[in-house]
């Protein structure tokens, strides 16, 4: 781990007024895993794009094994043994795994592709690093985790010795992420050198040997994983002490939402079975589970976009039929959808349009949209919820994930909802934005809103929820009180072992 295979020396890059990288220097040893930690916009991706030759730096140089890499030449970077695994995969879903890996690796005008040799090489690499995948499978038929394996294999196939992974866990489930980090560690043991970009403290602490913290385009600190802790890293990354908000005790009020034996069947498959819970004013009920266990249908039933097949839904104590989206809005149910780009907001429309879309009648006059009122409402959200990077008239697509989430929160909370359905509200957000979103949810709880928090993040659920139920295979476990829940118990609950919570549920 002493010989540096990669040296980044004084690299700077400016985009317009924005100094994205400011004299960054770092090194990477053979067999080492370095985490590049920083919030969104800290310059991590820019630095790695320079390393890979996508951008030409204004200043500084990259050395591999002591030799300078010509700037701005991806081919040269690949040739020198640098492989990049992008956050959004660069793969073609209609081609096979082998075809995806082989593209561009042969002389273009050869009369025949050496498919058999390529297959042998690929299978060999896959076996060596435990990246099992069928070379002839159509890429689109693979799971996201498998697709990432293909992306890594692609880099290794080009004889990469230095592997750069841009937010590798952003699209993975927890289990897939754990498996991937195990693979990365194994690769490092076999002599590869790795850099991974992240803003998640847990995975950085768990997987990296060394951590380089970037803020505002500068290296602000470098720590060995064994000599630091999450709190210190969080402070270094954000530049100030970040404290996630703390849940104050409260007395829940009346039951506002109750499900009894609710079932949903989609295309003959039971997605939800005998789901039951009660939700009271002024409390947060956490639904924890590995994604894909029925969270999406549950949120959709409560948001009015999916009809239930059986069971009862009681709203404010009254049994109701299937809800439409309009009913849901009228009933004072706010929603934070899981997919904020797909369902939460329309990127091509302006911020004010997104702000008023679900309440158009309230923002129209004489059959026309009341633009002025809409703009004023959007302005009030922007001010009150600290939405940065946009004006009421600017495009929503330009907002970062955290700011878009604040806009969606603001749109819902400004109307003081009685119930809030929050699905994965902090997913993919950086530390500062997570704290802001959590604070808003707790504020709503304090104001008497009943919050249903659907999440797969243990820390999030433990810190926000008053009571917790696990969702496994479309079924809900009995609830446990947050005070009795720890990571171990929740882990058991998420795996479907509910034997330990019988007493807890009956406890006063």
């Amino acid at each position: 781990m002493t010989t540096p295979v990669l040296d980044i020396i004084g690299v700077s890059k400016r985009f317009g007024d924005n100094l994205a990288n400011d004299g960054i220097s770092m090194s990477l040893g053979k067999g080492e895993i370095v985490a590049l930690l920083g919030e969104n916009g800290a310059g991590k991706t820019t630095l790695m794009s320079i390393l890979f030759g996508h951008y030409v730096p204004d200043d500084g140089q990259i050395r591999i094994d002591g030799e300078e890499l010509p700037p701005g030449k991806p081919r040269a970077a690949i040739g020198a043994g640098v492989g990049m695994v992008h956050q959004h995969f660069s793969l073609a879903s209609n081609l096979t795994v082998l075809e995806n890996v082989m593209t561009g690796t042969e002389q273009l005008w050869k009369l025949r592709s050496a498919t058999e040799e390529a297959r042998k090489k690929l299978v060999g690499i896959a076996e060596r690093f435990g990246l099992k995948v069928d070379p002839d499978a159509r890429l689109g038929d693979l799971s996201v985790g498998e697709q990432q394996r293909v992306e890594i294999l692609k880099a290794l196939y080009n004889d990469a010795r230095i592997l750069i992974l841009d937010e590798p866990t952003a699209v993975l489930t927890n289990i897939e992420a754990e498996r991937m980090f195990a693979t990365l560690k194994d690769m490092a043991r076999q002599g590869l050198s790795l850099i991974f970009i992240s803003h998640k403290l847990d995975e950085v602490m768990a997987a990296a040997h060394r951590i380089v913290v970037l803020r505002g385009g500068k290296v602000v600190a470098e720590r060995k994983a064994s000599e630091t802790n999450k709190a210190e890293l969080a402070e270094l990354m954000v530049g100030r002490r970040v404290t996630r908000p703390v849940r104050e005790p409260s007395t829940p009020g009346a039951v506002v939402l109750e499900l009894r034996d609710l079932g949903v069947r989609i295309g003959g498959v039971e997605r939800l079975k005998n789901v039951g819970f009660v939700l009271r004013e002024g409390e947060v009920l956490g639904i924890i589970g590995v994604s894909g266990n029925g969270q999406a249908p549950l949120a959709r039933v409560l948001s009015g976009t999916l009809a239930r097949t059986s069971g009862e839904l009681l709203l404010y104590g009254e049994a109701v039929g299937n809800l439409s989206v309009g009913d849901v809005v009228d009933a004072g149910i706010g929603r934070i959808p899981e997919d904020r780009n797909g369902e939460g907001a329309i990127g091509e429309m302006s911020i004010w349009e997104n702000a008023v879309l679900e309440r158009l009648p309230a923002y129209s006059r004489n059959g026309l949209v009341d633009r002025k009122a809409g703009m004023a409402f959007a302005k009030s959200i922007i001010d009150a919820f600290d939405v940065r990077g946009g004006t009421p008239a600017s495009g929503t697509r330009l907002l970062s994930g955290g700011n878009m989430q604040k806009l969606i929160l603001g749109r819902n909370l400004s109307h003081r909802p009685r119930i809030l359905i929050a699905a994965q509200p902090a997913r993919g957000l950086d530390e500062g934005a997570v704290a802001a979103v959590h604070a808003r949810i707790l504020e709503a709880r304090k104001a008497g809103t009943a919050v249903l928090l659907i999440s797969e993040d243990l820390d999030e659920v433990i810190s926000l929820a008053d009571r917790i139920q696990a969702i496994v295979g479309g079924r809900l476990s009995p609830p446990v009180n947050a005070e009795e829940a720890d990571a171990r118990l929740l882990g058991l609950m998420m795996s479907g072992d509910w034997s330990h919570i019988a007493e807890a549920a009956h406890a006063p």
Partner: protein, 313 residues
Amino acid sequence: MSVVFDILASAGLWAAILRIATPLIFGTLGALLCERAGVLNLGIEGIMTFGAMIGWLAVFHGADLWTGVLVAAISGTLFGVLHSLLTVTLGLSQHVSGLGVTLFASSFSYYVFRLVVPVAGTPPTVMPFQPIDIPALSSLPFIGPAFFTQTAPTYLAIVIALIMGYIIFRTPVGLAIRMTGENPHAAEAQGVNPMKVRYGAVIAGSALMAVGGAFLTLSAFNSFFPTMVQGRGWICIALVVFASWRPGRALFGALLFAFFDAFQLRLQTVVEGVPYQIFLMTPYILSIFALALMARRARVPQALMQPYRRGER
């Protein structure tokens, strides 16, 4: 039923199928190549018309027939450059650009034709390609007149279909074309230049379309008239989908359509009491059915009709 059998048993039907299919094979392969690289080329109808005109004109002015085909191919490459400029370099809508190329090329071919050839009662003619006499094969009973009395371009079309299938699925350049049509960003990240690939595919594809047009004036007929392509280009666009973007199936699809067409032509003459327009419709109606049946499982190139801009996602 005996009528149907008689038609099927006539060597003339099978000879006609190959003849009718030839321009469709060229056109479909051309459109397929463009689409595999991610560019829809609706210029096909106009490019075929122009190829028919310019190929004929060259021969009319004394060039030999293969030179005429070559001239048509070159005119196709020029329209390919035009379509690439608009859709690849400028990233404009591929529909609009393609329809523009068709309108321009169709009108322009009539314009050039009228500039050179004065209006006449009977259009001037050239001596077209003659059937090739293949020793032994052409003299076989039934088989000979049915399959071995074609002109050279027909055999060329079939050979090109097979070669294109090989290129697309067995060579590095074919993989580069497919990757560009599926995900140009991925292609670029692996050192393939999607811009160049798209230019190459559209130019070569357009040349094939023009050759398909030239077949009409230099082999199937011997004169040019402006409406002679008659929607064959659009049939080719549909055949590409029918073929699921596979050259071998494109060949099959073109032959199938030609079969319907040749069959209905003969049926017209023997069945009485049915308006002939009904028969004219049948190949198209059957095509729609076949398309609906086949295209449901088709895997469209994912980046088809999406302009590629470097550095954007």
